[in-house]
Symmetry: C2
Subunit: 505 residues, 2 copies
């Protein structure tokens, strides 16, 4: 056992990521130049990330990470990219405050962290949507897509080995435990995922644009097609349109749904499908549970909004809005097909609960994830059984295998931790609101806390899908930045850093 955590290695790998961040930053730079908009925000960001990245990289040429170094590298990378990603927003004056630099800085960082963590919560008001350049809007979309790719690589390649909160259960081809030399494995997994992810994104963009070309999506031009392809496959949710997917035709709304669903499907299963193997996906209990949950909650929401004559404008429309917004929240995308904040409370409440589900493990999805819920339900059922037959041994089965007891405990512990932090965040939100005299209702606080910490995006009331988070006190937003960061990388990689034992032997 090494005496101390090798923080230099972690920083060095984060440096490599930052250095390469200059490449995707070139895309909005080129677009800004093409459109004749300001290029300075992107030039500065490219220079900063290249210099900072190269400098950090020099800290170590050790490329092997243990468990602790992996945690640190993940935490640092998400923080570092979010900070660099905020530079263009800050320099372009996105959602800038009238006077306070702190206010503008927090907003730029909020938008960037919300992007990178694929949360999709925005501080952009109507002014920003109308006046920000296409380059800035593209960077918002692109950082989400990068965030989705990053989490895929971490979830399948890294955290599955670090065994965080039961993620090791995920169906991966690289299911080995207690791996200490992670890097080669990450690289091979990364290549595989990269191909699938790019392919899926191109397919989405082609589909959306094709609808435009045949006249079914009048305003789904190339920029919009690419922009929404980037953030649907990443289950991320930013849109250059203030009305989100509600700005587009019903056909487009239906067409977006499968891409959100695919983005939240285990990429190992997608890999099998891409190889023509449909048997394994069909056998996946988690896939059935995930799709079943979507149908279950969509039917409930459609039923409730169908009862309201103010919302129910016909069968197709009711079903479309019911399914779209449930799919959007279960997959943690956070698009909206309509302002669901205007729905009856019952429908909004069910949407709120959907936020806690999440899609499949090993995908771009956020939140708790269906794999964990499946194991929890199976574990609870098993525990009923053992509470009447204490001496019986009855393992929890998943697919062909048996879930180890340690894994079950990890999952219960993880979900409980998430719920505890979620509740703490709601307390911070209401106390901070009371402090500055802002009215935040109980459900607004619950919805915003869930949406931020579980990386969904929109919530209800002033965090509603057609509104934005600028209504909260700036101090609350600063806390939310941290919470999006913690939530996206599954809590533990950040929280262990606070433990003295982490830094000691």
């Amino acid at each position: 056992m090494r005496i101390r955590v090798d923080w230099r290695s972690s920083c060095s790998l984060t440096g490599t990521v930052l250095k390469w961040l200059a490449v995707p930053l070139a895309a909005p730079l080129v677009l800004a130049a093409y459109d004749g908009d300001a290029i300075t925000p992107f030039v500065v960001a490219v220079v900063v990330t290249a210099v900072l990245g190269a400098a950090l990289e020099l800290l170590s040429d050790e490329r092997e990470l243990g468990q602790r170094e992996g945690f640190l590298m993940v935490a640092l990378t998400w923080l570092g990219v979010a900070v660099v990603g905020a530079i263009p927003f800050y320099l372009a004056g996105l959602a800038a405050g009238p006077s306070s630099a702190f206010y503008s800085l927090v907003n730029a960082l909020f938008e960037s962290m919300s992007g990178l963590t694929t949360t999709g919560a925005t501080v952009m008001g109507g002014w920003d949507f109308e006046n920000q350049s296409r380059a800035i809007l593209l960077w918002r979309q692109l950082i989400q897509w990068l965030g989705g790719l990053g989490i895929l690589i971490v979830a399948i390649g890294l955290l599955s080995n670090l065994m965080v909160g039961g993620a090791q259960l995920m169906e991966t081809e690289t299911q080995t435990r207690n791996v200490t030399k992670l890097t080669p494995q990450i690289e091979s997994t990364a290549r595989l995922i990269w191909g699938l992810y790019v392919g899926l994104t191109l397919l989405a963009a082609a589909t959306f644009y094709a609808l435009h070309l045949v006249g079914l999506g009048p305003n789904m031009d190339l920029f919009n097609a690419v922009s929404h392809a980037l953030t649907s496959v990443a289950t991320a949710g930013f849109s250059p349109e203030g009305q989100s997917i509600g700005a587009f035709s019903p056909v487009v709304q239906w067409a977006v749904m499968p891409f959100m669903i695919l983005g939240a499907t285990n990429f190992v299963l997608l890999y099998y499908i891409s190889q023509g193997d449909f048997e394994r996906p069909l056998e996946s209990e988690e896939l059935r549970f995930y799709l079943g949950a979507i149908v279950f909650f969509s039917v409930i929401v459609s039923f409730i909004i169908g009862l309201d004559p103010e919302i129910n404008k016909g069968f197709e429309e009711t079903l479309r809005h019911g399914f779209f917004n449930v799919v959007s929240l279960v997959t943690t995308t956070g698009y909206a097909s309509t302002d669901f904040d205007l729905w009856t409370p019952g429908a909004k409440h069910v949407l709120f609960l959907c936020m806690f589900l999440g899609g499949m493990a090993g995908s771009t999805t956020c939140s708790i994830k269906t794999l964990r819920w499946l194991v929890i339900f199976k574990g609870l059922y098993r525990n009923f059984f053992t509470s009447i037959h204490p001496s019986a041994v009855r393992p929890v089965r998943l697919g062909d295998g048996v879930v180890e007891e340690e894994t079950i405990n990890d999952i219960f512990s993880y979900v409980m931790l998430a719920i505890v932090i979620f509740f703490l965040l709601t307390i911070i939100i209401v106390v901070d609101a009371a402090r500055v005299g802002t009215t935040v209702t109980e459900f607004e606080a619950l919805g915003a806390a869930a949406s931020i910490f579980l990386n969904i995006g929109p919530a209800f009331g002033m965090a509603g899908p057609m509104d934005n988070y600028a209504g909260f006190p700036v101090t609350t937003r600063a806390v939310m930045v941290v919470m999006m960061w913690i939530g996206r990388i599954e809590i533990i990689p950040v929280l262990v850093l606070l433990l003295p034992a982490y830094w000691r032997s």
Copy 2:
């Protein structure tokens, strides 16, 4: 291992309880005769319970219960007593519907189950408070007191051995595991608890009435003093006053608090205190955690309401209302010193979270209980440690001992189960409300579900402390009756009955 569950033994013991229920039913009968009010409701109830009880008792003369028989006996007893307890309410027309018998039956059963489970949620409107006899009001108080006594006996004598959700951790003198012959032990524990419980109730009644005699509680007459002693020590919450404890003077409000706190304190610790041993209670980590949580949340709530000039009428009053209502909800009593439903959303939200705490294990309290939360927090902290040092063995300590891993898992599983059922109940509430076209807001649904399932009593909106549950659809109230029952006896004794394996070998 016995082949089948011995349901006759369980029914027989439930019969004994029902037979003896005739004795406390005599108290309101006598009061009704004394006041010249209708005695028929009580005469019918006495006859039914005596006959039914004696008949059930004949089913078996086996007095030894195994684990499965214990679960069944507890579930049947709470159901049976609630049904018998509803008879006087039904015959007296308490919260009766204008036409439908189902409506009146559900309301009578709701009030009775809410009483027995020490929930304290009421369907009584202003008419009932003004027109029901003192005898009916006394029976409401008395059934709560009996429910508190019953749960004490089960919690310390029975469930602690049945090892439900980690209750075996509780500091009891009778800490033996895997006991199959429970009855003698229950009887000795029952006598000890009975003495403490009666003593505490008498002390409360004497204190309240003394305040009246010295002029500090003008309307705290003997009937009110006894009534509130019965339901404060039982952390139950019914009041013959529509304004709850808000109907009384500030001094009385302060005086009620310690009795709620004592009612939610582990009775084994109270036993030590009654023997002059203060050392053990002072060493109890759970006691410190419980009192610390009360102070923590009281300060937050007082802070929030103190910022609102409409509510803040001075330091003493703000602190009194902050502490009173936090104490009331953390101990799961459910009294109110003022209509906290009129408070700012932030304060209400913190009160909502307080509901999930509960007082100490081995008391009359409901909800999750501080013992479980303490183990969860310690378990989560330990898991951070092992997530960076997977090979390290680091047991969770509580007081002098080590908490077994199996117990920790039981507790995580129990709390997760409670949270899942709580969320399901909120879905039932909003869907049922949508079905009949009643507007139930998201927070009303969340608050009512928590308050019902965790056996608190009041919540927010139409379930607020100065309102009642009659505003919900009658079908929702029927579901709530079942949920109060399941919640009070810690879920598992009811849910295992649904398991085919329970009834087989």
